[in-house]
């Protein structure tokens, strides 16, 4: 290359670089101009900022995700609607019958419902969906839906075009409410038949919901537009026909500070999961904050009784009596959070107020520890017995905003009693390995939803998850579990659930903290008509937005 041509090359590169740099500079002005001019056209479009959409779009994996479920809820329908109080009402199934021992159900389907590709949502389609929820295709990497009662599932058959019969090998009262669970969304048979890779593409997924997919980009955004011929919304949403909003755009913004800033700058209509401690400032500025509670367990800790010092019931009882829950609500959360009244969320129809079994009583806690022999103190002021310090570590759940300051505050409360509580924050995979799947960790944080209270039978003993590591050693617990699992009527089961809850709290197997709020929605003023289901997922079918 001659010196001249090199010079030309360098000059060309320099000019190109200047041009490249100038493009985005011009872009600033273009952005600002577009933001102003497009306001009218966007009046009936909803902008929703979400922290991630990383779970993918294979329904059996991501339908129950706290994130993707917000999208799925707008794209799909369910057989029944389960509301935040656990009440089941018709949706695609307009009526149903159940036999006496809760082992056979007949569902009668609504007529004229179609998927967005025009295929009918008939009995054959429902059978294909139930088969996917109950069994899946694990040999092809497609798991079933975890919380569907697959262990007692026997068969599903299309009796005629609008009637489905489902049978179980044992009483399964949870079947009907579970049909309103976010994992049980109805997909077109063609989508269900796809391979794992095909199902990972949201464009491959065909639902029958009030919105259809317009565009999506992995980890970036999903844009939905109204389905004009939609006319089968559940009555409880308070609107019929197509949705009011023309479109919804879900945009991923991982940083919660940025989502809060965008809301403050009125650049979005909904910001999902911002820090609870900034919510008051939004309320003062006229924003509407939704912290929908869902059916399930309250936020709390379950204790493994085979791990010291929780092998002594008096230590467990001192733990629960030593927590000043009112101070937690005042300090870590806002007025929107409510105290726990049991180990079950207060919306669960079978839940009763059992606060007196775990209420704050530091004097009682101290005397329980004395009685248990933790009477000596070490140089740091913590209780000891036989030279062993009374203490443990809490690994706050990475899934819940506020769990770290809450654990630190509990550490202070118990520290005043002489219990040494260490708090260690972990990332999601490490937390899964060190806490969720580690039998030597005595304290595990619970943030679990369910749509049917029968779930409690599956967690308390070794006939299930054995949360408290009691196996079958607690005869009373085993009896109560069997009665809940074998119940054939809701009324009969409600009484047993109350008895079981009392036993769990008296034994301090579970330490309730506050009503579980896992989803926080900061909504712009003028947005209304949003309905939440049993697991706190919003439906925007009837939502309206005041013109700006």
């Amino acid at each position: 290359m001659t010196p001249t041509s090199r010079r030309h090359l360098l000059q060309g590169l320099g000019a190109g670089a200047l041009g490249l740099a100038a493009l985005p500079l011009a872009g600033c002005a273009v952005d600002a101009a577009q933001a102003g001019g497009a306001a009218d056209a966007q009046d009936q479009e909803l902008s929703f900022l979400i922290s991630n959409l990383d779970g993918g779009w294979v329904p059996s994996k991501s339908a129950i995700s706290s994130y993707e479920a917000n999208v799925w809820q707008q794209l799909t329908d369910k057989l029944v609607h389960t509301d935040p109080e656990g009440k089941v009402s018709p949706w695609i199934a307009e009526s149903w019958e159940q036999d006496e021992d809760a082992t056979a159900y007949v569902l009668h389907l609504r007529d004229g419902v179609t998927f967005s590709d025009g295929t009918p949502l008939d009995a054959e389609a429902v059978v294909a969906n139930i088969q996917a929820w109950a069994v899946g295709r694990p040999e092809e990497g497609l798991a079933r839906v975890g919380l569907f009662p697959g262990s007692t599932f026997e068969a599903a058959e299309a009796v005629d075009a609008r009637t489905v019969r489902v049978t179980f090998t044992a009483p399964t009262l949870s079947f009907l409410p579970t049909l309103g669970y976010h994992g049980c969304q109805l997909m077109a048979p063609s989508s269900l038949a796809g391979s794992l890779e095909q199902q990972s593409d949201l464009a491959f997924q065909i639902g029958s919901g009030p919105f259809v997919l317009d565009s999506w980009a992995a980890g970036d955004h999903v844009r939905l537009v109204r389905r004009e011929d939609y006319d089968w919304a559940p009555e409880v949403l308070g609107a019929s026909g197509p949705a009011s909003l023309a479109a919804i755009t879900f945009t991923v913004l991982p940083d919660d500070t940025l989502r809060a800033s965008a809301a403050r700058a009125h650049q979005t209509d909904v910001s999902y999961n911002v820090n609870p401690q900034v919510l008051d400032s939004f309320t003062e500025a006229g924003f509407h904050i939704e912290v929908p509670r869902y059916l399930g367990f309250v936020h709390g800790y379950n204790l493994r009784t085979d791990v010291a010092p929780f092998d002594d019931v008096r230590v467990r009882q001192a733990f629960t009596r030593g927590i000043d829950r009112a101070e937690i609500l005042r300090t870590v959360f806002t007025d929107a959070w409510e105290p726990a009244t049991s180990w079950l969320q207060s919306g669960v129809p079978e839940a009763t107020d059992l606060t007196d079994l775990f209420d704050y009583d530091p004097d009682l806690a101290a005397s329980l520890l004395d009685e248990a022999g933790w009477t000596q103190r070490d140089a740091d002021g913590f209780r000891t017995k036989d030279g062993v310090q009374l203490g443990f570590t809490i690994y706050p759940t990475p899934y819940l905003t506020g769990s770290v300051p809450e654990a630190e505050l509990i550490g202070q409360h118990l520290g005043r009693l002489g219990i040494h509580v260490r708090t260690q924050k972990l990332d999601i995979p490490t937390w899964g390995e060190r806490v969720t799947n580690d039998p030597t960790q005595g304290v595990a944080e619970v943030t679990r939803s369910f749509v049917d209270v029968g779930t409690v039978a599956g967690v308390v003993t070794d006939e299930g998850e054995d949360w408290f590591a009691v196996g079958s050693s607690d005869a009373e617990l085993v009896r109560l579990r069997d009665e809940v699992a074998g119940a054939v009527s809701r009324e009969e089961r409600a009484g047993v659930v109350d008895e079981l809850s009392r036993h769990v709290l008296e034994q301090a197997y579970f330490i309730p903290l506050e009503q579980n709020v896992q989803r926080i929605y900061v909504q712009t003023p003028g947005l209304s008509g949003i309905t939440f289901n049993a697991v706190a997922i919003p439906s925007y079918h009837a939502a309206t937005k005041e013109p700006s």
């Binding site: 670089a17 952005d31 694990p138 040999e139 975890g146 794992l196 199902q199 990972s200 913004l253």
Partner: protein
């Protein structure tokens, strides 16, 4: 006579040029081959290291007690993803598939890895290229001002700026730009991180610390050139200072500057994670961060090998550029 005298020279010149071109081609082929070997070795090494880490998102999801899967179901799903095979078998299958362009499925989302990274690369490229261009421009302005401004407080200020830039964390720059430009002035939308305005702000955030390193090298090189005889001769000929700097000082200073530009490319790509996070962009940095958090080995493997490949390619390009930029290097160490 003159014709006879020039003929051999005319014949010799193409021959020398052809020999030089052949040497250069051989050098380029050798360096390209070495670069390919480095990329393959990086693939194998990263695969083995990742295989040694316990856990994966499939097992974490299946083993969670609340999922309620039977052992048979867990075994079937693990088998589908090949997680039950020995590491070496998985490596060979993975390498064979990679050669055919099949990089596997993400364990988190089940999407093809090519789709996951393919969606993220344009955003990272836009950010990195814009940031690099801005960094070079800022450095060039600072370098030229350091020679053109008379000695005094202003010149001292310009020479101190790279140190200030280098000491300012880019997350701070980013947050200030967001607050002022997006929230206060509304110049760009936070909801659209890939818009031109947001890209420029993100690139500026990334470029400021990076420009400091380039500027420092450029200023030192210009100072060094200014002390050379040819610079003093040029100045004594009465040329204006700007001409002296642009015509006589800048070119010799380009070689160390190009070297440092190559080196800071790593900084641009590495720093892009923080910038992407601050501005909510979905780029390669974000994909890697999520893959690490979720132990999504197929995505992580390709992303790390891709980063290694970028470094190898950039170094290769710089090596191949040296002889073109500086004729003295042709046929010497550069092409040996």
């Amino acid at each position: 006579m003159s014709t006879a005298a020039t003929l051999p020279r005319r014949a010799a010149a193409p021959s020398a040029a052809a020999a030089s071109a052949r040497r250069y081609a051989a050098f380029a082929a050798r360096r390209t081959g070495q670069a390919l070997i480095v990329v393959v070795l990086a693939y194998v090494l990263v695969f083995l290291v990742l295989a040694a880490i316990p856990g994966d998102p499939i097992s974490a999801q299946l083993d969670s007690p609340q999922a309620g899967y039977t052992d048979a179901e867990k075994a079937q799903i693990r088998s589908f993803h090949g997680l039950d095979r020995p590491v070496l078998v998985r490596l060979l299958i993975s390498l064979g598939n990679a050669v055919r362009g099949d990089l596997g499925l993400s364990l988190s989302t089940s999407q093809p890895v090519t789709a996951v990274l393919g969606a993220a690369i344009p955003s990272t490229l836009a950010l990195a290229v814009t940031a690099l261009v801005l960094a070079v421009l800022i450095a060039a302005v600072l370098g030229l001002l350091s020679r053109l401004l008379p000695e005094g407080p202003l010149n001292g200020f310009v020479r101190a700026l790279p140190t200030v830039f280098l000491s300012t964390p880019n997350f701070l720059i980013g947050l200030v730009l967001i607050q002022v430009l997006a929230v206060n002035l509304g110049l760009f939308s936070l909801v659209d991180p890939d818009s031109a305005g947001s890209t420029l702000a993100a690139a500026l955030t990334l470029a400021i610390p990076v420009s400091a390193q380039i500027a420092q090298v450029l200023i030192t090189a210009l100072d060094d050139s200014a002390g050379q005889d040819y610079a003093e001769v040029a100045a004594s000929r009465g040329l204006p200072p700007a001409q002296v700097v642009l015509r006589h000082l800048l070119r010799p200073s380009l070689l160390p500057t190009v070297t440092v530009v190559g080196l800071v490319l790593g900084e641009v790509l590495g720093g892009s994670l923080i910038t992407e996070t601050i501005f909510g962009r979905t780029g390669v940095g974000t994909v890697v961060q999520k893959a690490v958090a979720a132990q999504d080995v197929p995505v992580l493997l390709v992303a790390v090998v891709l980063s290694a490949a970028v470094f190898v390619v950039v170094n290769l390009v710089i090596d191949l550029l040296y002889p073109l930029l500086d004729p003295r290097l042709r046929g010497t160490e550069g092409t040996r």
